[in-house]
Amino acid sequence: MLDWSPSIKERFSMPTPILAARDVKKSYGRGQSRFDALKGVSLEIFEGESLAIVGKSGSGKSTLMHLLALLDRPTDGAIELNGSDALLLRGRALNSTRNKTFGFVFQQFFLTGGASVLDNVILPLKISRVRSRERKRRGLAALAELELRDKAGNRASALSGGQKQRAVIARALVNNPRIIFADEPTGNLDSATGAVVEDILFSLNREQGITLIVVTHDEDLAARCDRRIYIRDGLVVETESRAA
């Protein structure tokens, strides 16, 4: 297959991307009502990078994120995780990979209001069968890192917007992921708190080497990333790297 040669060449010339999309297509529906959300997107993301996927609503940026996060399967094309075909992962192996590799920060916090902040934060650990004592230790450590240690016992609904988003970041961090997906992480916050949350995300990227993939339509947030990919109508229209 002709496709193999560039890939092999890349492997020799540069490090393996932690996550890659190879000519990924995604369409919904059939026949008349068929809608092509992605029309062939290729992209490589390397360990420790921060990348912004920028586009308007309906551009296909969220679809791309879902495919990269292995929440959905492309209609055509391939997704590679650490150089191996991620689409071969199914069922338990897929769940476990998502649980251990990815952390999620959404625009909406998706915190369980009635439960304690700590219980919300340790949810990924609970899912990955970590024992209760260890869960608590790691949960408190993640909260301490985000200066929410004293709120651990509070109900999640009692937190302010900024505190909620910090709790969400603690939840994304608690299982030591290699990649954090942030979908409009500051969309629900005022600019001051938004800036604090951005600072936290980028310092995690810089200091702990966690790969950061931000999906946004906010130019200012995108500008802070190492690299920006602009998506329009299901295609990559422009790629920008920060001048070093």
Binding site: N95, S96, R98, A115, P124, I127
Partner: protein, 429 residues
């Protein structure tokens, strides 16, 4: 997620919407409460029957009567051997009597250990010393009979001394200070023979019998020696052929006989022209009726539970709806569909457990209270009767059945939750 975490999370989730859970639990509570009470009623009555079986007759005894001609096809031919029945049945019912020839025929049937004609005795009165005479009905002791005694001992089948067991109601009337003080005293029994002449027969009181449902009630029990004496006295003036007429006989068979062997023995007696019934046959009729009534009552309770199970479906569908985001998030974080299913179906099972455990617990309290109150009032004449009794086995069965129903009710919402697409659930446009 570990199973223990699934369970504790499910329990935690069921308390998240307290009002909704409480209402569902109440619906299940009503069903489980009713089921426990109706079951307890069956258990109580059947227990009582079982414990009083021995008072009606021994386990290794068949009551044998001559097979009766079919009475449903119009009048049948006159038979000089016809006599009044002493077995339970319609008043005035007659049976064809058995003669000594019948007794020896029965004794010859394979499997019969011994046969004893039941003597039909009708004494007039009983008196202690020269006190007031009280009318008396008595029957001969069936071999192996176990009376429920308030005091004293069972009548002896082997003793040649005449012995009698009196019902507890005769104790005070005959002038004894207590059940115990009556034991060992002598009473005189009056009996009229065929020529209207009166005779008295002396007998020793060996026991005082409790009143019971299946047992002797107001009837005294005479041992073989006394029954024979009374029968002889009552038969003076009868020709020997009319004297030797028995309405029924007791047949003993091997104690270790299997049910199949007993059935074969009954079949052999039937071919010889005799109807034979064990005590179990007679008790079985009682139990069948009670079981049927309990079954009907139980089915009402089960209908209530079915209605409650739709409450569970409803409650859980609502919480699946409410927790769409949370389910989506958990699935995005790598929680398997099976675990999501487990989370919701266990919540259903837990709601079922709460309702049934509380229902059964309160039913036990209420049922015990009611039967204690009834035992000291309405049923005071039937000592040993606990109207509503509870066996741990049936309580456990009820709780498990309700949890099973709850699980089935939970499968629909749980499957709905398990099928959820994380992307759809997390969309926020």
């Amino acid at each position: 997620m570990r199973t223990i975490d699934v369970i504790s999370t499910a329990i935690g989730n069921s308390f998240r919407s307290k009002l909704r859970t409480t209402l569902t639990v109440i619906a299940i509570f009503i069903g489980a409460f009713t089921l426990t009470i109706t079951n307890g009623l069956g258990t109580g009555i059947n227990n009582y029957i079982t414990t009083t079986v021995a008072a009606i007759g021994a386990q290794d005894v068949l009551t044998v009567t001559k097979t009766q001609p079919d009475q449903s096809t119009g009048p049948h031919k006159y038979d000089p051997n016809q006599m009044a029945s002493t077995s339970p049945g319609r008043p005035g019912q007659t049976v064809e009597g058995m003669t000594p020839a019948d007794i020896s025929t029965i004794a010859g049937v394979a499997g019969v250990v011994s046969v004893q004609p039941t003597l039909s005795i009708s004494p007039d009165y009983v008196e202690a010393g020269t006190g007031t005479k009280y009318s008396l009905s008595a029957s001969g002791a069936v071999p192996g009979l176990k009376l429920q005694l308030a005091a004293g001992a069972q009548p002896s089948a082997t003793s040649s001394a005449p012995q009698i067991v009196l019902p507890v109601s005769y104790v005070k009337a005959l002038g004894y200070s207590s059940d115990r003080s009556a034991i060992g005293s002598t009473v005189n029994i009056g009996i009229t023979d065929a020529t209207r002449a009166e005779h008295t027969v002396g007998a020793t009181v060996v026991g005082i019998a409790e009143t019971s449902l299946g047992g002797t009630g107001g009837t005294s029990t005479a041992n073989e020696a006394l029954a024979q004496k009374l029968y002889n006295a009552q038969s003076i003036g009868l020709s020997s052929s009319s004297k030797d007429r028995y309405s029924q006989a007791s047949v003993r068979f091997d104690k270790s006989a299997t049910p199949a062997a007993v059935t074969q023995l009954k079949a052999r007696l039937a071919t010889a022209g005799y109807d034979a019934k064990t005590v179990a046959d007679q008790i079985g009729t009682f139990k069948t009726v009670i079981d049927a009534i309990v079954l009907v009552l139980n089915s009402f309770a089960v209908i209530a539970l079915l209605a409650a199970s739709f409450g569970i479906v409803n409650t859980l569908l609502m919480s699946v709806q409410e927790r769409t985001r949370e389910i989506g998030l958990m699935k995005a974080m790598g929680m398997g569909s099976g675990r999501v299913f487990g989370l919701f179906s266990f919540e259903a099972v837990f709601i079922g457990f709460l309702g049934s455990a509380i229902g059964a617990g309160i039913a036990i309290l209420v049922g015990s209270g009611i039967s204690a109150a009834l035992a000291s009032s309405v049923f005071s004449g039937l000592p040993g009767l606990t109207l509503i009794a509870f066996s741990p086995g049936s309580i456990a069965t009820i709780i498990l059945v309700v949890m099973g129903i709850a699980f089935l009710a939970g499968t629909l919402p749980a499957a709905k939750a398990a099928k959820q697409d994380p992307i759809e659930s997390l969309r926020y446009e």
